[in-house]
């Protein structure tokens, strides 16, 4: 039953992704200033939002783990973090590809892009720490501490970078886009598609972690009997 529900969810996601792609490439008009290149915007923004939500999921999971000490929350935290890193990778590659033809440079020290970069670095470190600890409860506690602290740093990193930019005035304003209603539809469609993608990936990843626990449990049992 549960598997069937997940399959149905995956099917819905696939349909949504295809319709989002259709809306992005056909339904929405080309941007008046940037032309077709602006069509990167829809998925770039969707991945950025969802990536951020994924790290927020890690933050919530970490917080709840410290309070409740239930393995479930630790599983949620690590699964969400891994998907967050994958989504941020999308943000950090599509961002520069967009920047190159529009502003003439691959990398710009745009506050949002820098914040995502720092966030990604922090959560890669989070995964490294997880890999370095064998014992389950200790791994949960230590990584929860990082998950919480790293997420708290997001607003400060963003504000610091915005202030840094205003002192070095540049002409980059990526948010200055005339939004046609059809563009907004396309954005919402991609946003829901990617959010659903996050949900099914998260469920899958959490299943994987649960199965690993089961493997460890069985191994222990066999070792005891032998």
């Amino acid at each position: 039953m549960k598997e069937k529900l997940k399959d149905a969810l995956a099917l819905v996601t696939a349909v949504l992704v295809v319709s989002a792609l259709y809306m992005v490439f056909v339904y929405a008009p080309a941007d008046a200033n940037m032309g077709n290149i602006q069509r990167i915007f829809y998925f770039h923004v969707s991945f950025a939002w969802t990536g951020f939500i994924a790290f927020f999921g890690t933050f919530v999971g970490s917080l709840m783990y410290l309070i409740r000490k239930k393995r479930f929350w630790d599983i949620l935290a690590v699964s969400s973090a891994e998907i967050g890193i994958a989504f941020c990778l999308v943000v950090l590659t599509t961002g520069p590809i967009w920047a190159r033809p529009v502003w003439g440079a691959w990398w710009t020290w745009d506050p949002r892009l820098v914040t995502f970069l720092i966030l990604t670095f922090m959560f890669v470190a989070y995964m490294i720490v997880r890999g370095a600890i064998e014992e389950e409860t200790k791994r949960g506690r230590f990584s929860a501490v990082i998950g919480i602290i790293a997420f708290l740093n997001v607003p400060l990193t963003y504000v610091a970078n915005v202030m840094w930019r205003t002192i070095h005035p540049d002409v980059i304003r990526p948010d200055k886009i005339d939004l046609d209603p059809r563009m907004i539809h396309a954005l919402f469609m991609s946003l829901s598609a990617i959010t659903l993608l996050y949900v099914i990936l998260l469920l899958r990843r959490m299943d994987l972690e649960g199965m690993r626990d089961r493997v460890a449990e069985l191994k222990k049992k066999i070792m005891k009997e032998a």
């Binding site: 077709n36 290149i37 967009w98």
Partner: protein, 47 residues
């Protein structure tokens, strides 16, 4: 305009490469663990 299209398709290609790459990686780990789990369950029930 032509250059714009090149970057547009580059972006969407990389986007899906990363995504399917991750999905593939996830599926592979899933299958490996599943296999190991089945194997272990067989040992446990065999005893």
């Amino acid at each position: 305009m032509e250059g714009g299209l090149y970057y547009l398709f580059l972006a969407y290609t990389i986007l899906w490469v990363i995504n399917f790459g991750y999905i593939f990686f996830l599926g592979k780990r899933y299958k490996d663990v599943q296999k190991e789990l089945e194997h272990l369950e067989k040992i446990v029930s065999g005893k």
